[in-house]
């Protein structure tokens, strides 16, 4: 019986709580994960490559049974207030896991109370521990921009925000520099990179960008909010290799001109692909489209398609096994190797922090660039 909940052999994608903390990591705040224990060490161990070498603030509330049953939010409020007085964060982000979700914890109300006590801005991010990391990244970025950026700022022509950039998708940090360079080489200005290798003060000018680029699906929530608030159009796509880079740049220029939102990658229409790209929605689709425009695909008569985790359900294991073993090539995280049954299917490893955590981190290539050689990647892997 088909059931997306059951994973006999496969791993689990990073959760929304991880995404929220990851997105806020470099902005000088203090992230509070309202949770008993465990989610914080999972995040800091498996999903946060910056943890050991930084002093960025992220804590778990240590919620216990009695506090949850009694609904005693004062425990959290008192603790956060005390920690804030000791550590002086620039802002506080409050997110939570499944128990706060089912006891209807009032994120907005508690955030307001903490802010009243401390004088430090508090942004509520109502994660639930059930959903995919992209939702957590998106929620946190959306609330941060809503709180700290000014929608009335004048737009700067030819400037873009890169939305949805976290180590969960781009754990090789060289990807961030390569991504920026791809846009600047195309004559565009990167107004802000949300949120790696940028600063609180710069990102507070988010509304100066004339176009938002969702380089991962995590960027969609803030992009939609900025569209609603200031009319900023958005483009969805990642410049994976020269073809997709050109598509993204063309889409940005067109959207700046006509104010409409665009997908930079082509819509996949085939049911059974020869090359299956598994990963985050935007990079998987961008890479599949890029592959479809390589000589490799043309010469071999192959068509690439993408498979990505649903925000609520992840990837259905039965469907995954069927598609993966039907394909001639699977471009995916190496941890998927344990469901490879067809000896004729070739696995091309593309490590993804959001799936296998830190295990293959050192093997992640710089793929978010116009210079990424997809031909070579496919032929030599």
């Amino acid at each position: 019986m088909k059931d997306w909940h059951v994973h006999v052999f496969t791993s689990t994608y990073a959760a929304d709580v991880t995404g929220a903390c990851s997105a806020m990591f470099e902005l000088g705040g203090m992230s509070i994960l309202h949770d008993p224990d465990g989610c914080n060490s999972t995040y800091t161990t498996h999903d946060e490559p910056r943890w050991y070498d930084s002093q960025s603030l992220m804590f778990c509330s240590g919620l216990d049974e009695l506090t949850a049953v009694l609904g005693d939010d004062n425990v959290l409020i008192d603790d956060v207030t005390q920690a804030s007085r000791d550590l002086h964060p620039r802002f506080i982000m409050l997110c939570g896991s499944s128990i706060p979700h089912i006891i209807a914890f009032d994120y907005k109300g508690v955030a307001h109370l903490i802010e009243q006590r401390t004088g430090v801005p508090v942004i509520p991010v109502p994660t639930n521990g059930l959903d995919l990391y992209t939702r957590g990244v998106g929620l946190a970025l959306r609330e941060w921009i809503r709180r700290f950026a000014d929608p009335s700022e004048e737009k700067v022509p030819g400037s873009v925000n890169l939305l949805g950039v976290t180590p969960i998708d781009f754990s090789n940090r060289d990807n961030v520099a390569a991504l920026r360079k791809t846009f600047t080489d195309a004559g565009l200005t990167v107004n802000g990179c949300f949120a790696m290798e940028d600063s609180f003060d710069n990102l507070a000018h988010a509304y100066r960008a004339s176009v938002n680029v969702c380089v991962s699906s995590a960027g969609l929530l803030p992009a939609k909010m900025m569209r609603a608030k200031a009319g900023t159009p958005y483009v969805i796509g990642l410049p994976v290799g020269p073809y997709m880079a050109e598509q993204v740049m063309q889409a940005v220029r067109a959207s700046e001109k006509d104010g409409r939102n665009r997908n930079a990658f082509g819509r996949d229409t085939v049911q059974q692909e020869d090359i299956l790209v598994i990963g985050e929605q935007v990079y998987a689709q961008s890479m599949a489209d890029g592959i479809n425009h390589t000589a490799f695909a043309g010469e071999n008569g192959m068509h690439a398609g993408a498979l990505w985790p649903d925000i609520e359900e992840g990837i259905d294991e039965d469907g995954l096994i069927a598609r993966m073993n039907h394909a001639k090539i699977a471009v995916c995280d190496p941890l998927y190797r344990n469901v490879l049954r067809n000896p004729d299917t070739r696995l091309i490893p593309l490590p993804h922090e959001g799936y296998s955590g830190r295990i293959f981190r050192k093997d992640m290539p710089v793929f978010a660039s116009d210079r990424f050689d997809l031909e070579k990647f496919l032929r030599e892997a």
């Binding site: 059951v6 240590g62 059930l130 992840g314 295990i359």
Partner: protein, 433 residues
Amino acid sequence: MNEYQLIKDMKYEYNADIGLDYSSPCRGVWNIVHYGTLVPEGHQIYVCPTSCLRGVVLTTAEMGFDAMKKLSTIAVGEDNILDGDMEEEVLHGTEKIIDALPQRPRMVMIFTSCIHHFMAVNYQRVYKILRREYPDIDFIDCYMDPIMRRKKEPMPNLRKQILRVLQPADHLPDHVSFVGNCFPMTKYCDLYQHLVRSGISISDLTTMQNYDEFHEMEKSCINFTFNRKAELAGRDLKLRLGQKWMIMRSSFVYDEIDADMKAASEALGIAAPPQEETRALRAEAEEKAQALRQKLNGTPLSIDYTAIEQPLGFAIYLLEHGFNVESVLIDVITESEDVFRKLQAIRPDLKVYSSLGWNMRQADRHHDGKIVAVGQKSAYFNDTPYFVNLVENAGMYGYRGLSHLLDLIAQAADTPQDLPTLVQHKGWGCSCS
């Protein structure tokens, strides 16, 4: 660092788990997944929201592809919460997993989580059905429920639950079990050496090759525990199966070691270790301690609870032997009040750090001059490459254990190690066979 208290200013009731928790990068301490993999021919199923599953799945994946074959998951979704079908999900998910596995497990450990308590899930009904459907498999209800940690910590609870399949049996006078360890208690364990020499056979989960060996524990006349996390299991077996339970204190007080060894021998009706052997082992430990003291020549030491079951007791031992113990790192005091008061009296200016406190995140980890650490957390918070890398006593007990520990400190003082790589490795010493 200046985020410490002096022991003279502390209360015995000290507990650092009272507010926001900081998670240090030190990951050597075993979690429930590591312990579950010890069960030969066992399979673990975790039923939790994604945020919880992530940690257990990747803990397993980091042990390798073979380890992944011993664990499956059932993700709790919003639909389960709204539809109220948690029981059905556990039942059908488990059926699907068992039927899909290439090899039939002999034991299935089903871990439910915090959310199941709050949704009042009747999982015992599910296990009853599963036991009927798969009579050849032992099903165990296990718990990954840190929200309940004030009543039952997950790790001690698991060590107990795994043994719940054991049934009443005739107890053999020459068969005992070592219960609730993470590591084999062999070469550096006085009790092991003494029992083997006396013709006593020992069951220990950490050395078992197949599931039939596991059930041999039913025949034990005595269960020995060596650490606090195993005591729940020892007590449960005593109540349920009528097996005698003896606590072997991980003590550094010679008379306590001798007393426990003597009591164990009397309970088994065998002779206590010969006095000349005890004297020789004591003398060896004393010699090693003196040699190490001379070698360190006043170099400060820091001890943490993740490495040593009795960190305060070990601090006393070292101080009484002339060492410069500068600090200990503990999150709660688990030793007796007498030990705590004695340490207060011997070294009132001993620095005590917590690893959980929020102030530790931005603590100045620099230490002026060389310091040797015993344990990963002491090493990390003092930022020293000179450290003993082990967790939970690592199979050491008695004089042999003490002598080996002193050897390890001597090695650590000589050889700098790769601190970031070693302490971030999850589950020190755990591998999946």
